[in-house]
Symmetry: C2
């Protein structure tokens, strides 16, 4: 039973108050045989190669149009594991709560984590809860670490990328960043843009099942946007990346918002956008296949890997000119995820 | 090259500034084939059952007598995995840095993580770095998630505990908590007490190799101290736990400090103390074996599992009386780990 309205330092003590918070909210939401043991760790079995990824989520505001920090914390890590060519199965979950967080907000976040985990098919198997004094945190930070078995039918890795490979993106870019930005204090700008946070694990795994070794790489375009992912890949593979600006899927409202604020949508964060680099001979088929999946309806080929300009991303602009897409330096917008 | 003295928001952007910070400090310190891929996740292989544990560390101050937040973040999670009867092998590492953290402090912490990970025999294989605005964090928070293979020779679990089993502790209690407390602002009290933070993975694993199924449980006595661990166990196994106050290993200086501050050392946090519950017939042998290990020099039997007072911990006091050891409610001292 919860007879308090806010979370305080005692809830991070490891004593009865912590136990009460965990029992009434966490264990109730996530009950499963691993977590129900209430130990400091969980024991699981995963066959074959295991992909692991960790992320801390510090997004502000914690509730935003289209999602909240809890949903983001599940989808973000699930997607990072999926981008390794693995099917995420288990998550650890660690909260750092600022004293004063409303219990009702915490419950909303936990329930959202529960629903999102169910959608993704992952179980929360171990966790941690810490509380810091007022002014030493910002409502709530969440770390998730995800684990899952690598799909043995796949062979995902930058080393497989060849000149001629096609670059396919699953959907419209820049939505998450613009959704957050439109809600930030002090920004005199309102919109109905919603975050694109979603789980990409099923579409990624199904792509491997369908196209096997024809799929060379997955990468989600989160912090730093599509530009950062592409410049990182170009630099890693020491080949060129060519993209066509007019082929980039970009919602009109998002494009307009970017223009108003002077932002380049290529650098704005996404949470449900990924690229896949595939063998050129199957690219059209992959695009058509993705368009039938709810997470890939707007799938489109946006470019290819080239011999020319190794290590660089070159974009053919709307009016036909070419420009180098530079890596982002700092960021226009902190705490986007 | 690092040409800045403090960490700022741009270092959490995911762009070139983040890359520079990671290359110059993180990748340099932890270089290994998993991390060098610089992907969002790592792929490993672990045979058999896998133990997983996560913890966020928010200790204040971040540097304290006997350790720092980095060392604690490695040892803490390594020990949680070890307490599952597993040998930790890999760690994920996620930082939440408050803008303004001195780069030299960050480097000290990273180097300490590196040294501690080497001591523990674990590799940092994936990570994350976020930066929050001044006043929205407290210098640095660290999450580590650890995993490793369960030792197949062992059978660690509260379900194995029988009436008559002996409870053995490896060393002096209450040191970590009192070391932190003596350094907190506003506490007019100085001492030379040092934290007991250390890694317990080798002693735990060796105990399993030596005594097999005779070892029934491991539990480290961190937040909430020895009392919290024992009361949790009693409540879980629905048997009694009896301990003898005079048998508890307690440093004189620590005892004196607790007395001055009116604290019960049973509830004060440890970072290098664990209990093991073992078959009564091997208890003496286990104690002698542990005393030969550097992490168990003060090992001693402090009590046993009883039919009487199920679910409760009863301590025979120095003067011969008996008292119930209650679960801790809140905490005397927040942010101890």
């Amino acid at each position: 039973m919860i007879d308090y309205k806010t979370i305080n330092l005692g809830h991070g003590s490891g004593g009865l108050m912590t136990q009460n918070l965990l029992d009434a909210i966490i264990f109730k939401a996530f009950s499963n045989p691993y977590l129900d043991k209430k130990h400091d760790g969980a024991v699981v079995k995963i066959e074959g190669k295991i992909a692991i990824s960790t992320d801390s989520f510090v997004v502000s505001p914690i509730f935003f149009r289209g999602g909240n920090i809890g949903e983001l914390a599940v989808n973000g890590t699930v997607n990072d594991v999926a981008m390794c060519g693995a099917q995420p199965k288990y998550l650890s979950l660690a909260f750092i709560i600022e004293e004063g967080l409303l219990v009702e907000d915490f419950i909303k976040i936990v329930n959202s984590i529960k629903d999102t985990a169910e959608t993704c098919g992952v179980q929360i198997i171990t966790g941690d809860t810490k509380v810091v004094e007022r002014g030493k945190g910002d409502q709530i930070f969440i770390n998730t670490t995800g684990f899952g078995a690598v799909n043995p039918k796949g062979n995902i890795g930058a080393k497989n990328i060849k000149v001629g490979d096609k670059i396919i993106v699953n959907g419209s870019i820049a939505q998450h960043g613009m959704a957050i930005m439109s809600q930030r204090e002090g920004l005199e700008f309102e919109s109905t843009i919603v975050s694109d946070t979603t789980n990409l694990n099923f579409i990624a795994n199904d792509l491997i099942n369908e196209f096997g070794h024809g799929i060379h790489l997955f990468r989600d375009a989160t912090r730093g946007g599509l530009a950062s992912v592409l410049t990182e890949i170009a630099s890693e593979i020491k080949k060129g990346v060519s993209i066509i600006e007019t082929d980039l899927p970009l919602d009109r409202q998002v494009a307009a918002a970017c223009e108003i604020l002077g932002l380049d949508p290529l650098y704005v964060a996404n949470e449900g956008v990924f690229i896949t680099i595939v063998d050129q001979y199957i690219a059209d088929e992959v695009v058509k296949w993705m368009q039938k999946d709810s997470k890939g309806k707007q799938a489109v080929c946006i470019g290819e890997i080239t011999e020319a300009h190794p290590g660089k991303v070159v974009m053919t602009s709307t009016i036909g000119g070419k420009r180098i897409v530079s890596p982002m330096i700092g960021e226009q917008l902190p705490r986007i995820c």
